[in-house]
């Protein structure tokens, strides 16, 4: 399998997977959702995982996120071999190393935005007094400073995704994992969210792995595109987002 520019900087990889596989058994049939994927991602990279639905891109993301465990192979993130971590250690890893955003925003409906955003801080046992300013700061950053006490149902999809981004940011993780972040948004709002993601990538130096099936979106924002089909890595190539044909905001920052 071909690997691209990252190889030279092997010692300082953000993510490295080797022969990563995740198989499910569905009745009699064995489903190879992820089937021997090896890849290396350097710190600060903005990578898009592309593929049709069922290609295994979300499964790879879940494995990197530590939400799932590989059937075989390994995935090492920030020097942690996730397959070897205990459930407790995986939870700590998700808490401190990874920030996640989802297609369906996944905010807790019964909590206000501020409470949603500070929830990871509760799990991290951050003092009550420090949590609120941090949550407000994160919400300010995504432009929701005025809506801290609203519930998710009172907000638009774009605003909910911004809040989800603020929550992903709150523990200052090294890695932002986005699973179809614009899938439930119109293109204009989607662009706004993607601009924010790029801002995190460039200003905070977060490594971004984004799962999407929209090639155009990947081309506009990602520095590298990894294409999956049937659980296998079929293409891995660099992309110059600045050179995108689009006249959108993609090229401005």
């Amino acid at each position: 399998m071909t690997t691209f520019p990252a190889v030279s900087a092997a010692g300082a990889l953000a993510i490295r997977s080797e022969n990563l596989s995740r198989h499910y058994r569905m009745g009699e049939t064995l489903i190879r959702a992820v089937d021997g994927v090896s890849l290396e991602i350097r710190p600060g990279e903005f990578v898009a995982l592309l593929g049709t639905s069922g290609s295994g891109k979300s499964s790879v993301l879940n494995l990197i996120a530590g939400l799932d465990r590989p059937t075989c192979g390994s995935v090492v993130v920030q020097d942690r071999d996730l397959a070897k971590l205990s459930r407790e250690e995986l939870a700590k890893y998700r808490l401190h190393v990874v920030g996640m955003v989802f297609q369906s925003f996944n905010l807790i409906a019964t909590m206000t935005l501020a409470e949603n955003v500070e929830l990871p801080l509760r799990f991290a046992e951050v003092d009550r007094g420090r949590r609120e300013p941090l949550a407000h700061e994160a919400l300010e950053r995504v432009g929701l400073g005025a809506r801290v006490n609203h519930r998710p149902s009172e907000l638009s999809g774009g605003e909910q995704q911004r809040a989800a981004l603020a929550r992903a940011l709150i523990n200052r993780p090294k890695l932002l994992l986005a699973d179809e972040p614009t899938g439930n948004l119109d293109s204009h709002t989607g662009t706004e969210i993607m601009d924010l993601v790029r801002e995190f990538n460039q200003q905070l130096g977060m490594t971004v792995v984004m799962v999407t099936h929209e090639r155009a979106l990947a081309e506009r924002y990602a520095q590298r595109m990894i294409i999956l089909a049937d659980g296998k890595l079929v293409d891995d190539r660099p992309n110059n987002p600045g050179a995108s044909h689009s006249s959108g905001r993609g090229g401005q920052s």
């Binding site: 939870a91 807790i108 909590m111 509760r122 799990f123 991290a124």
Partner: protein
Amino acid sequence: MKLPDLTELALRNLRESLLRNSLTTIGISVGVASLVAMLSLGTGLQQLFSRRLAKSGLFDTVIVSSRREIRGMGREDRSGPAPGESRILDEPARQEIERLPNVLEAYPDIRFVTELRYEDKPHLTMISALPASAKSNDGFEGMQGNFFSSETSAEAILQKSFAEELLGRTPALGATEPNVADLAKPLLGKELTMRYAQRVPAPAQAVPLRPIEASSPDDNLAGASYSVISRELKLKIVGVSDLDPESMRGPMRAKVFLPLKLTESLHVMQPTDLREIAHTIDEPVYSSLSVRVKNPAQIQGIEDAIKKMGFNTFSILDASRSLQQVFRVLFAFLGIFGSLALTVASIGIVNTLVMAILERRREIGIMKAIGASDADIKKLFFAEAGAMGILGGIVGVVLGWAIGQVINFGTNIYLKSQSVPPEHFWAVPLWLVGFAILFAFLVSLISGLYPAGRAAKLDPVQALRYE
């Protein structure tokens, strides 16, 4: 997650499905209420019996009887010396007992049945002697009139039911409790004539039985045997007591009380005298002595010391010991029945929490995705179970207390209709409040065990896929 955060989140989650969680909590309340009701009934009954025992004045009293006496008070102590070697309960023995450390006094228990005339009508009743110390006894708190002016004065205190009898009032069924003050008014200061049989040391020849007007019998006669003389004594009624004639106090079942020294000097023929016929009359032999102790805590030691001297003893300890046994069993039974409802309620908790897991599957998935550990999720469900337990416990205690009050009230209405004095069957002591809430909390935590474990094991990928 820290406890305040857990509590806050748990309460928030409980509020979110208010109806379901309220119903579950009410279930716990009913369980706790039944437990509290049962145990308060047990406690109340125990306290009622303890009060009865305390009223008996036996708390600081040991009753001493000779082992020779076949009909001893209470249980015979068979570990002691055989009846043959046992001592006679005479004056030297009394003095010896009185010299024991921590003994206030040892006085003979004198009682006899005799005839009293009031306004020329004879009344047969039991008379008992009271030491001066009985004045401070709580049994005489509700007395009308005064206590004896001296240990030797010819005065009598009446038990209220005897006062009723003297006044010719028979308590009608359903009538209210007689007012002691009303009874005392016409009687205080009036005169009673007591006819009694005096035991007189005498030469062998018989003394004719004839009434003698005597207020201070002469007992200087000496002799190995005695004869019996019928005498009369005028007594002034100085008080009417509301003392319960059924109480276990020394003057058990007695309805008229006389000063101890006076009674002793009368040498009234007592039923036990027949058996002590061999003894000289100068040396009084007592059927039983009441020994008062300085401090109820010292009763056991004094009882042991007296037993060593060769006498039988009986005290509140013996009575309360067997009573405690009975109450321990009663408590266990009431507790088991009371806990049944709580057990049912705990199944309700399991049900509610399992439902909550199904409903909040996605939420649990989100929490795990953003970094919640299995322990965090487990603790959250435990906190919800525990919060329901504590809330249910508090409401249940209040409910149980209210049920108790209602039943107590109802029972007393019935008792009143049966002309029995009202009683307190119900007691919710502080320990029971604490215990009930703690118990509800623990039962809830145990109920939360399975749901919490299940929630913690939820696969986040599956949970998030679930739409």
